[in-house]
Symmetry: C2
């Protein structure tokens, strides 16, 4: 019976050729089934891996008894196709098409390492997950973390998201808080009988305008924080002194602060500004880059370059929440992600594959002179 066989993936060629094959199996968020089937089938051919699956999330692990375990993770889904499939390789060695950059080239590198490194210097976990490009509650990595956190355990994780071949360490946390200002309603023709809640926001905005964000260095990376109003709303009607005004602030904070410290900081900044109520609207914690871990140090040495801080929030924070320091490192220019002219340089994909293999096949640090 061949009727239900998944599209065959040949892991033998290089990661660039494999990227083109992966791109040509469309996998828009929510429709990752055929690609997940193909990935699972290919991994099951590799006897040194144990393969598990949850929905369209596939996890493959070695169990070699190494003292360290590293995780290589990537998402299978893409944003909607924009008349940019099938893939096309041009004369300059650039592969065009939906998902080439974000992030089937990274997935190809994962699969090539899985197929070509049967005896890595560290135990390896390969994670392929779905629904990264859509609402957070659908995210496959989040579902794995909730259902099978043991599948994601490790000492260090690399997400192969496009990062221009640079190591982006950890990520900043993002906290949104609502600050409610008090007031008392009145007719605006008799304003002295009320208390204007919008005027009461004056000290909050002055504090924001004067705020000097920190630039802490964590694990050798400089982070730039920010505290900003992202919304303000107040007013009842054109002839009414408003009794309510709310300022939503967004605090982007470095990974040397945890969630409680971030909330405490915002409360402290506005402690004497007459705020009636603070409400946490949304909160995603920061992720430590973990660059001081031996596995991470070896990784940095192997891939080269100068690690930089990641300011935006990414899925590395999901690993951090599980106690696994994580970085982004993958082929492709992140500015090309989600664009109709998405593309990746074949040379970049091959370089990433080589560097990861070098890291994972070098003699362990302890054994080096």
């Amino acid at each position: 019976m061949e009727t239900s066989a998944p599209p065959a993936l040949r892991l033998g060629p290089d990661a660039a050729a494999l990227t083109a094959r992966l791109v040509d199996i469309p996998s828009v968020s929510g429709a990752e089934g055929p690609l997940a089937d193909a990935v699972e089938a290919a991994l099951r051919e590799l006897p040194w891996l144990r393969v598990d699956r949850l929905g369209n999330n596939v996890v493959a692990r070695t169990f070699l008894g190494r003292p360290e375990r590293v995780v290589l993770a990537g998402h299978l889904d893409t944003v909607p196709v924009a008349e940019n499939l099938p893939s096309r390789l041009d004369a300059d060695g650039v592969l065009w098409g939906c998902g080439t950059c974000d992030m089937k080239s990274g997935v190809a590198v994962q699969l090539r390492v899985a197929a070509t490194v049967p005896e890595p210097n560290r135990d390896l976990t390969f994670v392929f997950y779905d629904n990264e490009e859509v609402a957070a509650h659908l995210n496959g990595l989040g579902r794995l973390a909730a259902r099978h956190p043991d599948w994601l355990a490790g000492d260090f994780a690399v997400l192969l998201e496009p990062s221009g071949g640079e190591v982006e360490g950890g990520c900043q946390g993002t906290l949104r808080m609502l600050l409610r200002l008090p007031g008392r309603r009145a007719h605006s023709a008799r304003s002295w009988t009320g208390e204007n809640a919008i005027h009461a926001a004056a000290p909050v905005l002055a504090r924001l305008a004067a705020y000097r964000p920190r630039r802490p260095v964590v694990d050798g990376l400089e982070y730039r924080e920010g505290l900003n109003a992202v919304r303000i709303e107040g007013g009842v009607a054109g002839n009414v002194i408003p009794d309510a005004c709310a300022v939503t602030v967004n605090y982007r904070y470095a990974p040397d602060r945890d969630e409680a410290a971030a909330v405490a900081h915002v409360r402290e900044v506005f402690a004497d500004c007459g705020v009636a109520e603070f409400v946490v609207d949304d909160h995603s914690p920061a992720a430590l880059p973990g660059l001081s871990h031996p596995a991470a140090r070896a990784f940095i040495a192997a891939v080269g370059g100068e690690p930089r801080a990641k300011y935006g929030w990414t899925d590395v924070a999901r690993f951090s929440a599980l106690g696994v320091p994580a970085v982004n490192y993958g082929p492709g220019d992140p500015n090309l992600a989600h664009k109709a002219d998405e593309r990746v340089s074949v040379a970049d994909v091959l370089r990433c594959e080589e560097r990861l293999r070098a890291w994972l096949t070098a003699p362990p640090a302890a054994a080096r002179p």
Copy 2:
């Protein structure tokens, strides 16, 4: 042919009895026809009056060659009936029902003066208009002012709106202006690459919070101004440094300032606050009370009490715009207007009728010692 005759109004009894009759001819805004017909028919019985009509607006005037002309004006319409018709007179001499207070008792006083003062000491203009309780562009007084300003000409006007039997002089102007703050959009994880338009509103709100409104005395009445934010809006998304924020301010100003001076004042207050654009959103000018006019002085002397400033905007401003100083003076507690338990004291209606008649039948001031 009697089939199309309007409901008959008998102007003979006192204003209190007439109020009950007027209340029992429903005239919710837009449905004033039957009441306007009845008023017109009753006025046409009075040979000393010339009666004109525009839609459901009725104007009746004497032409006695007096050196002064005063206008007595009132609206015929009511807010929607709230199961409070027909009217009911209780044992305490209080008449209950929709429109008793706002303002068929005032209309009854107008009609009683029209019917009982055939030779007034000043030429009289009686104005009965429609659609006062709904959108300004429907207002019958506004339509008369636009189509037949000569019908409204005079030296002084009294609007018989409920004012608790006190004289409320003129009214304050109301100006709404939008103040736009500038900014430059950016991802909130890299806030230093943008400019936050909400933060830019800080000096505007600080200026508002510190603002000390004037309390000028005009024509002997103290006015209390106010400058207030009535709306603030800013924000693009929870992770975006906003490039736009708008503060709507409402300036309530005394009638010693005209429209241009009011706009200039707001611009001056915020001159150094970084406002990118000022936009006039809505503007209704102030109305002078005109209490220094001889007709007004005689009126105050006749009705007694201490005139007070009117803070809210009222239709007296429409007279002021035509060059006719105007006051509110009528029976009924303005706080009962528009309520289901709307009511008026019969004694108050009779007192108002008597005082107006006294004013309009006394020997002219010039003839007094």
